[in-house]
Amino acid sequence: MSRLGQGLRPLVESLIAGLIGLGVGALIMWAWGYNPWPAYRVLFQESFGSTYGLAGALANATPLILTALAFAIGARAGLFIIGAEGMMYMGALAAVAASLPRLPAGLHPLVSLALAALAGLLWGLIPALLRAFRGVHEVISTIMFNWLAHFLAFYLVANVLVDPVRAEKTISVARTARLPLLLRGTDLSLGIGVAVGCALLAYLWLWHTVSGYEVRAAGANPEAARYAGVAPRATVLGVFAVAGALAGLAGAVEAMGRPPTYAVYSGLTNLAGFGFDGIGVAMIGRNHPLGILPAAVFYGGLQAGARLMQMWAKVPFEVVRAVQGVIVLALALPELLRILRRLGLLRRVRRHA
């Protein structure tokens, strides 16, 4: 298989899946008596058609990139970590807590991010240990830990980090610790830089370092990996740590970079869901750090555009979720490859003649 082919394939696949998703979405709207075309026109104009819209798309993409990376790295190592949600909560709260002390403007954001990464990492530690030493399947432990995080966050928001005058939220992140907005009048912050940076690092790690190689080996064939000197436990712990740190950062960029509140709401209404959406994004991005970048922008863009779609086309924004679902569903199908072949986009392998 030509490298070009390998590089091109997932991209085209995702595009086709995107079209299928939009098609089904149109069908649903049409079935309920909405006219899909104006809806989609607004959707895309407003999400990718203007600087303002694009800024919205990128702002939404920021946390998704990080949670998607958290999942993808686990997947590459053969771990199905769905705990990004909880780790993200912990990261966000740590970032908020980092605003209790006063720190110089330059240093404060760094300290906050570091603390958030640490918090996410620590939150992933117990499931990691359970997996490494008790063989407890990460699916079960991370689901449980998502709920524990959910309630712990509720407690911290309401009792510990609570805003003394506004009990519905935590104290706001200190001005010195906020991630500056890149575009006034939008909610796009420097967080996108953090996210993209992490994606690039993740790519370098997995494909250009020895430990990344070993992680992928452990994921593909643990038995053989052990034989090649890869310590399974260390791998599990390491991967969980990285995933936790990334998810923690996702929470942090949201709390530190999303105007206007720069805080965590009780009910976690400004955080809930990024962890799970991250899984969808990771899949659209084919669990590849560089694939995740466009996937997240697309995904976040749809959500941004949906706001105006409901406003101008009067189509409930929920339909966009359905569209995203169908896209992911379509991506599950390897048959898409066949389509590509017919388009002659993939070079064929001939071993004989």
């Binding site: 649903i28 309920w32 008596g33 199905f80 769905i82 359970l130 008790r134 063989g135 407890v136 399947h137 699916v139 079960i140 432990s141 689901i143 449980m144 830990f145 709920w147 524990l148 309630f151 712990l152 509720f154 407690y155 309401a158 009792n159 799970f276 899984i279 969808g280 899949m283 409930p316 929920e318 339909v319 966009v320 979720r321 359905a322 569209v323 995203q324 679902g325 169908v326 896209i327 992911v328 569903l329 379509a330 991506l331 599950a332 199908l333 390897p334 048959e335």
Partner: protein, 299 residues
């Protein structure tokens, strides 16, 4: 606590156990045949929705059937994609959940009262009245089903073939077992049970559907499956354990004077902690079918 308290706690627990157990046992069937469907949450949501519509149209049984039908339909699509299309099961499942979330919310938006749909009292599944309280007829079903599935998987030729497909589809294929069909049917059966669970929530348990009615129960069911290591009876145990602690948590919270000592958030954690402790302490490593989640290709 008096007996009355006990019975009502029991009743709450049993009602909370049903959806988790049904969905989990269904998933056990599907996974035994090698299909790993993390779309349970989505199925619960969809069938809770269609269940409501069915009940409004034709009464409680129609509602339950609508739920089952929805499960079958979703299972069919999932099986088509994953068994015949050799699709990636995790991706398909995630897609399913996203789709359901959007579709149901959308559906509730455009049908009369957005965000919430009530099942008229007349159309709700009438409970079985006993001196110690009213119980949903699906409770005995949920209690019995795991034993049936246990027998089916462990003692019958059907079970043998099903597990063969999950363990080594090539072997099954070579032995003349139609791998794809077995997988399709088992995942449909599993999804149908999840569909029943969803319909139960709206038609029998809560009497209405909201856009978040499943509230993570699909994932809890998933955890229960992992916890059970694909043993139906353990799945039931898991369902009971979880249902009980979930209800107990709500109970303790409402006891006067407790919240003042322990914040309610920590009480609410008990079911999850309990599950973890059991898994970590008692169950530990579980073995899954070799070909679980791996699409089978002849070529």
């Amino acid at each position: 606590m008096t007996w009355a308290y006990f019975w009502s706690l029991l009743s709450i627990s049993l009602h909370a156990m049903v959806p988790i157990t049904l969905a989990a046992v269904g998933e056990v069937i599907g996974e035994s045949a090698g299909l790993f469907n993390i779309g349970l949450e989505g199925i619960l949501l969809l069938s809770a929705f269609t269940g409501t519509l069915g009940a409004k149209a034709g009464g409680p049984l129609a509602g339950l059937l609508a739920g089952v039908a929805t499960g079958l339909a979703v299972g069919f699509v999932f099986g088509l994609i994953c068994a015949f299309g050799k699709g990636n099961q995790l991706i398909a499942g995630v897609g399913l959940n996203l789709f359901a979330l959007g579709f149901v919310a959308f559906g509730l938006q455009v049908l009369g009262s957005p965000g919430f749909h009530k099942v008229p009292d007349g159309s709700q599944l009438p409970p079985i009245r006993t001196p110690v309280g009213a119980f949903s007829p699906l409770i005995p079903l949920a209690l019995a089903l795991p034993f049936f599935v246990h027998w089916l998987l462990g003692r019958t030729r059907v079970g043998l073939r099903l597990k063969a497909v999950g363990e080594n589809p090539e072997a099954a294929d070579v032995a003349g077992i139609p791998v794809e069909w077995v997988q399709l049917l088992s995942t449909m059966a599993g999804a149908a049970l999840a569909g029943l669970a969803g319909a139960y929530m709206s038609v029998s348990w809560l009497g209405s559907v909201t856009k978040e009615i499943s509230a993570g129960r699909g994932f809890i069911a998933l955890a229960t499956v992992v916890f059970s290591g694909l043993r139906p009876l353990l799945a039931l145990a898991g369902g009971l354990l979880f249902g009980f602690f979930e209800s107990l948590a709500t109970w303790i919270q409402s006891l006067p004077g407790v919240k003042e000592v322990v914040p309610w958030q920590f009480i609410a954690m008990t079911p999850y902690v309990a599950t973890l402790l059991v898994v970590a302490g008692v169950i530990g490593r579980v073995r899954f079918p070799k070909a679980l989640g791996v699409p089978y290709r002849r070529e």
